[in-house]
């Protein structure tokens, strides 16, 4: 496929926003059970939610650049029964709304306990909103990934690893962001977020590595013989039917060399995993929000390369029909 930057920005930005929200809520739940020092609800949870919301909104804006008719985008909520894209279109604003309410609850101090858990842990409105947000967050990860994973003839995508990768990569990116944010807003918790950021980054490396290994072993199921229905091992296209380009020649092939693709692959394997881990460790040791912010930026660049490679690697069977001009 030919990677579209609108979709690369959409998936990486909302991934970071989702991960940051999950990090905030994880922190709150840990604090509820006294496993972490409680943080200030305004300067940490409300501002953190605002940052997460900004990432989600930026992703949403990026997605509009993918559309030929953005003014009709509201129609895309219609087919949620069959289309994962439609489901994403519903879940993303629902999740954004919940993150907004979660942040607003913290800002406005909706902290009077509604009821108590056994053991006397008070449950307030923000905790319930956060739980709903967590469900929607995972729902959004699944919707986003299933848009690609459900296309069965794009075999590089048609695997449960796609869903796992989206969850772990987005989670890692968000937790690194949470580490940088907490270093500035709640230094006592930054070690906690940094630890989970490292775990998620290593987990993401494992699952992404697994999908890379899987994809190198794929054998194409469609060949020219099945594409035109002539049973012969040697079929060569002599003409695709037109001399210039078309939508089919532009949309489905990245137009780069194999070496370039390999470069991007090793680029993201370095930039998204080991480098941010090292910078993260250095930033935590120094307690510097700036260095930790650098870790997030480096990893974000790596994730953009990862997403570019994710799209470019998928070999669409329609390319069988467009191999020779004449």
């Amino acid at each position: 496929m030919n990677p579209a930057f609108s979709v690369i920005f959409l998936t990486t930005l909302i991934g970071a926003g989702q991960g940051l929200f999950l990090a905030l809520y994880t922190g709150q739940v840990y604090a509820l059970f006294d496993l972490l020092p409680a943080q200030d609800s305004r300067s940490f949870y409300a501002v953190g939610s605002a940052i997460a919301l900004a990432f989600l909104a930026a992703g949403l804006v990026a997605s509009f650049f993918h559309l030929g008719h953005p003014e009709r985008a509201w129609r895309s909520a219609a087919m949620w029964r069959t289309s994962w894209l439609s489901r994403e279109v519903i879940v993303l604003p629902a999740f954004m709304g919940t993150v907004f309410l979660y942040g607003a609850g913290h800002w406005l101090g909706w902290q009077s306990p509604l009821f108590s858990l056994p053991g006397g842990y008070p449950v307030d409105a923000t905790l319930l909103l956060g739980a709903a947000g967590t469900l929607l967050c995972f729902g959004l990860f699944i919707c986003t990934a299933m848009i690609y994973a459900c296309l069965k003839f794009l075999r590089e995508w048609h695997t449960p690893l796609t869903v796992i990768n989206y969850i772990l990569l987005g989670g890692a990116s968000g937790f690194v962001l949470a580490t940088a944010f907490s270093a500035a807003a709640a230094p006592a918790a930054s070690g906690f977020f940094g630890g989970w950021a490292a775990v998620l980054t290593l987990g993401a490396l494992t699952s992404r590595g697994a999908s890379l290994v899987r994809n190198t072993r794929l054998k194409p199921r469609s060949t020219l013989a099945t594409a035109i229905g002539v049973r012969h091992p040697r079929i060569v296209q002599k003409s695709q039917g037109f001399m210039g380009g078309s939508f089919n020649t532009r949309e489905f092939f990245h137009g780069r060399s194999k070496a370039f693709l390999g470069g991007v692959k090793w680029g993201f394997l370095v930039l998204a995993f080991p480098v941010p881990l090292l910078v993260l460790a250095a930033g935590l040791a120094a307690g510097s929000p700036a260095i930790l912010g650098g870790a997030f930026l480096v990893q974000y660049l790596g994730l953009m390369a990862e997403r570019w490679f994710f799209f470019a690697q998928a070999n669409h069977p329609q390319n069988l029909y467009y191999q020779a001009i004449s």
């Binding site: 030929g68 219609a78 296309l151 012969h232 060569v236 089919n248 329609q318």
Partner: protein, 243 residues
């Protein structure tokens, strides 16, 4: 249940592109607006077509065959492009099985084209909506046209009658008979899309000659040439003439 479809006979297609040009002519002139066609006479021409004729070479020299291969939307019975559409702009008509795009609902997200393994959907670069073969739905039901012209433009244009059109669910239709009797097949059956359009394979006309047909069975001594003329009194070969 009706499933309208094309059956394309690769045995007689000569690759003349008459179906391509007639398709473009009809569909660029309709109520849905023109099909984009940019820089048609310049260095980098591009445009939106519903139908393409491609050419493949099968085998290695000197034992090769040239296969001209017209390709348009196959109007799958299990169209993978339809369920993925987020707006419902892509749909399959229940009454005749044609897969269509509602250009007023399409948001141009291109997801349906990703979901089509055949690459038959093309985004119109000017209207920014996805377009594809409509099986000339604005022709085949037009009662102002004489009945024999109520067929897709490509079918009418084909000079070798390589394109048949009809209902593949009706076992007595011309297309069903052609599929049944001439080994009609579907493209990329491995994805379970059940394309309605079928292709008829290249068929070589082969004369089978057995060894005993090369050797006269009634000449066991292998003596060729004129037989000796029998005398007038002797019995002739056919017992009628002696000369």
């Amino acid at each position: 249940m009706t499933q309208l479809a094309l059956v394309i006979d690769l045995n007689v297609c000569v690759g003349c592109h008459a179906c391509v040009t007639s398709c473009k002519e009809w569909n660029t002139s309709g109520a849905a607006g023109y099909l984009s066609d940019d820089r048609p006479y310049d260095a980098d021409p591009t445009g939106c077509f519903f139908n393409r004729v491609q050419t493949f070479e099968v085998g290695a020299f000197p034992d090769t065959q040239t296969v001209h291969f017209p390709k348009s939307c196959l109007h799958c019975e299990e169209p993978p492009c339809v369920p993925v559409c987020p707006t419902g702009a892509s749909y399959k008509r229940a009454e005749d099985g044609i897969v269509l795009v509602d250009y007023d609902k399409c948001i141009g997200c291109k997801y349906c084209s990703w979901a089509c393994p055949y690459g038959v959907r093309e985004l119109d670069e000017h209207q920014k909506v996805m377009k594809k073969c409509t099986l000339c739905v604005d022709r085949i039901y037009d009662e102002k046209l004489p009945e024999r012209e109520r067929k897709p433009a490509c079918v009418l244009a084909c000079p070798t009658n390589a394109r048949l059109y009809g209902d593949i669910h009706d076992p007595d239709s011309q297309v069903s008979q052609a599929i049944r009797e001439n080994a009609g097949y579907q493209l990329m059956p491995e994805w379970g899309t059940h394309p309605a359009n079928h292709y008829l394979p290249r068929r070589k006309t082969v004369i089978r000659i057995h060894a005993d047909e090369l050797q006269r069975a009634d000449n066991p001594l292998k003596i060729d040439g004129k037989l000796p003329k029998p005398a007038l009194k002797e019995p002739s070969l056919d017992d009628v003439t002696s000369w």
